[in-house]
């Protein structure tokens, strides 16, 4: 097929009549084959066929509709790993985009994975190592995510999010939930890998929820980052303080301090509940215009 013909073929183009018959499927195969072969290499006849087809209103409409489908498929943004995972979990397309678009979300997810892996590795390296690390750090993981998920200075689209009808509080809530739903199962996995039992395995959970609740509630007053840092610092001071007091006697492990005993756990559950109520009650504050130029959000 590829070798050049030994003679110049006469200049030939698809005649209007043949074109019409071809488009109407009104010619036999030998002739249609000729037309088709010719069309592949003749821009003139391609243009002639195009204008012939586009001249017909209904086929032009079909071609235009088809083009819109082509460009729509071309434009479909790739959802990335996070987006696809969320969609797989049944999160609707636009919510997945709201959650996954912010780079801070990816960072906080990676951070939680790394931290949890760190727990597991540190445990594997030191068979008799303390579980204290997990108990202290686990509640801080979602805090880091929530603190960076949204807010002035964290989110470059903060201003556009603010002026949009979709409320900022919803964006904040979606992302916080996404962080919480990633960090909690991961930490749980780490705890299981470390084969902690009972309260030791789950001792971080209620404090974690309590701290998350406090951070969210506080975020209705100040930037989430400031809220997260304040709550996180308070937690560390509390744990270290309580531990230091009870560890005057050599050998008292962190998990036996009051925080991880039933009393402490119940207290954190109450804190979580109260904070959640407060947060929901004050959620609307995230949507109103801000008071000052940079400070509050």
């Amino acid at each position: 097929m590829n070798d050049q013909p030994s003679f110049e073929p006469p200049e030939w183009h698809v005649s209007p009549r043949l074109m019409r018959d071809y488009v109407a499927l009104k010619i036999d195969m030998a002739r249609s084959a000729s037309v088709e072969q010719h069309l592949l290499s003749c821009p003139n006849c391609q243009v002639a066929l195009s204008s012939f087809v586009y001249a017909d209103v209904s086929s032009a409409a079909n071609l235009d509709a088809l083009w819109l489908d082509v460009i729509d498929a071309v434009d479909r943004p790739s959802s990335g790993l996070v987006g696809s995972t969320l969609r797989l979990l049944g999160v609707s397309d636009h919510v997945a985009r709201l959650i996954a678009a912010a780079p801070a979300m990816h960072l906080s997810w990676i951070a939680s994975v790394v931290l949890v892996l760190g727990f597991a590795i540190s445990y594997a390296m030191r068979p008799y190592g303390s579980d204290a690390l997990l108990l202290v750090l686990a509640p801080l993981i979602p805090l880091a995510g929530i603190g960076t998920a949204y807010g002035l200075g964290n989110d470059r689209l903060y201003e556009l999010t603010k002026v949009s009808p979709l409320s900022s509080s919803r964006v904040f809530l979606y992302r916080s939930l996404a962080v919480l739903c990633t960090a909690t199962p991961l930490t749980l996995t780490a705890a299981l890998i470390m084969r902690l039992d009972g309260l030791e395995a789950m001792g971080w959970l209620l404090p974690s929820l309590g701290l998350v609740g406090l951070t969210l509630a506080l975020s209705t007053w100040v930037q989430p980052l400031i809220a997260a840092i304040s709550v996180g610092t308070t937690w560390i001071i509390l744990v270290v303080g309580v531990w230091a007091r009870s560890a005057r006697f050599e050998g008292i492990a962190l998990e036996t301090t009051v925080i991880f005993q039933p009393t402490g756990q119940i207290a954190f559950a109450v804190v979580a509940l109260v904070a959640a109520v407060l947060f929901i009650g004050r959620l609307g504050h995230l949507d109103t215009p801000v008071d000052s130029h940079r400070g509050a959000w």
């Binding site: 195969m29 010719h38 088809l66 082509v70």
Partner: protein, 196 residues
């Protein structure tokens, strides 16, 4: 609305197909549109001769131009762009049948329908065949092809003219690959005896 675009659009309209492909590889959606307007019409018409289900054709053409968009940077530029597009298009059509597992209802050529005037066809044929079938004893070959039964003719079309493999042709025509082979052999025999 088109106003602000007209400048860029005009420049791209002037481009030949190869330049369009380069522009598409560079992310030009306007170039893709121009390419679409040039090549989608004949592609649709040509596919209509291979499949009578408009939604399948719609999807195949859509897939084709999406593949052009994605594959433009890998286009090597040998041969006509139209031939490249056809190669993608006919395989996307085959792919549609693999995907949907539907039977292909092939359109009949008009010559198969009763009431056609055979002599009329012969007159028109004289000009059309010159180009493609020039290297063969064309008139006779055309007659030989047209005289084949519809099943045999479709196999010839799919394998010889459309460049499909036996397996692809089988998918398109909704018959096993083995049947494609035997029909192709019979077609060759019939054509050979018609030509001698």
């Amino acid at each position: 609305m088109r106003d602000s675009l007209s400048v860029a659009r005009d420049a791209i309209d002037e481009m030949d197909d190869d330049a369009l492909i380069v522009a598409i590889a560079d992310g030009s959606r306007i170039a893709l549109h121009v390419l679409y307007e040039r090549h989608a019409p004949w592609l649709v018409i040509r596919l209509r001769r291979r499949c009578s289900d408009p939604t399948i054709i719609h999807d195949a053409v859509q897939d084709t131009f999406v593949a052009v968009w994605q594959g433009a940077s890998r286009y090597e530029g040998s041969g006509a762009v139209a031939a490249w597009i056809w190669g993608i298009g006919v395989r996307r059509l085959v792919g549609q049948f693999r995907k949907t597992n539907k039977a292909n209802f092939l359109p009949l050529f008009d010559s198969d329908q009763p009431g056609m005037n055979p002599s009329q066809q012969v007159i028109d044929l004289a000009s059309a065949e010159e180009l493609v079938l020039e290297r063969v004893e064309h008139g006779d070959l055309a007659h030989a092809i047209n005289r084949l039964s519809p099943e045999l003719r479709l196999v010839v079309q799919a394998t010889v003219l459309d460049g499909l493999t036996t397996r692809e042709a089988g998918r398109l025509l909704g018959i096993p690959a083995g049947t494609v082979k035997t029909r192709m052999m019979r077609a060759k025999q019939e054509m050979r005896s018609a030509l001698t």
